[in-house]
Amino acid sequence: MLALSRKKNESIMIGDDIEITIVDVQADQVKLAIGAPRNVPVHRKEIYLQIQQENKAAAKISDKSIEELKGLMK
């Protein structure tokens, strides 16, 4: 993985159309501005990982749970 040092107000480009700018740095927190085409979804990694985890858990539903769910939703 590439590691770059950037100062406040400096940017990096990813490809031709994604620009990430360091807007502010305060103690251990960095504020980023992300410019990307509309069709590129940008998420905090934590939320994406949580959704991924929930979808995988949802797919593991057992036959017993399916029956219970049917009963519950009548």
């Binding site: 509309r38 939320i47 994406y48 959704i51 929930e54 979808n55 539903i61 219970e68 519950l72």
Partner: protein, 163 residues
Amino acid sequence: MMVKTKHFGEINVDETKVIEFEDGLPGFTHIKKYVLLANDGNEGSGPVFWLQSINESGNNEDADVALALVNPFAFYPNYSPEIKDEYVETLGHASSNDLSVFNVVVVPEDIKNMTVNLRAPILINQHTKKGAQVVSENQEYGVRHFLYQDIEKIRKTFEEGGK
């Protein structure tokens, strides 16, 4: 077309019902085509639906996925996730009538612990047949929101109202 489903055996699905998820779903980005089934495998009005993958590669088990979805408005009439316009636009032009909203439910061994992902709804444009799971801007909506207790509450209110 015949679709091998995870929970309802092999069923016949009208090809016009196929929904394309261009980006797949988080956790299953390799699967792009799904069909929406009702609780018993046929068409129906919910509130539970199944998002069943269409396994085009035949025997590949990785491509056989079925997620239980709910119509959130059945339980939360005031649910109104704020979704960025660009997410909706990727599904093609949509009037609000064309757009359906669903949420993924996780049902563990003890159904009392079932949760619903209110933070990241699945949007389906019924007109263009395109779908996506999107992250809402609403921080107050949980990825793991406990659903069972809320269903019980609704049931109680309903039963008391019927007396």
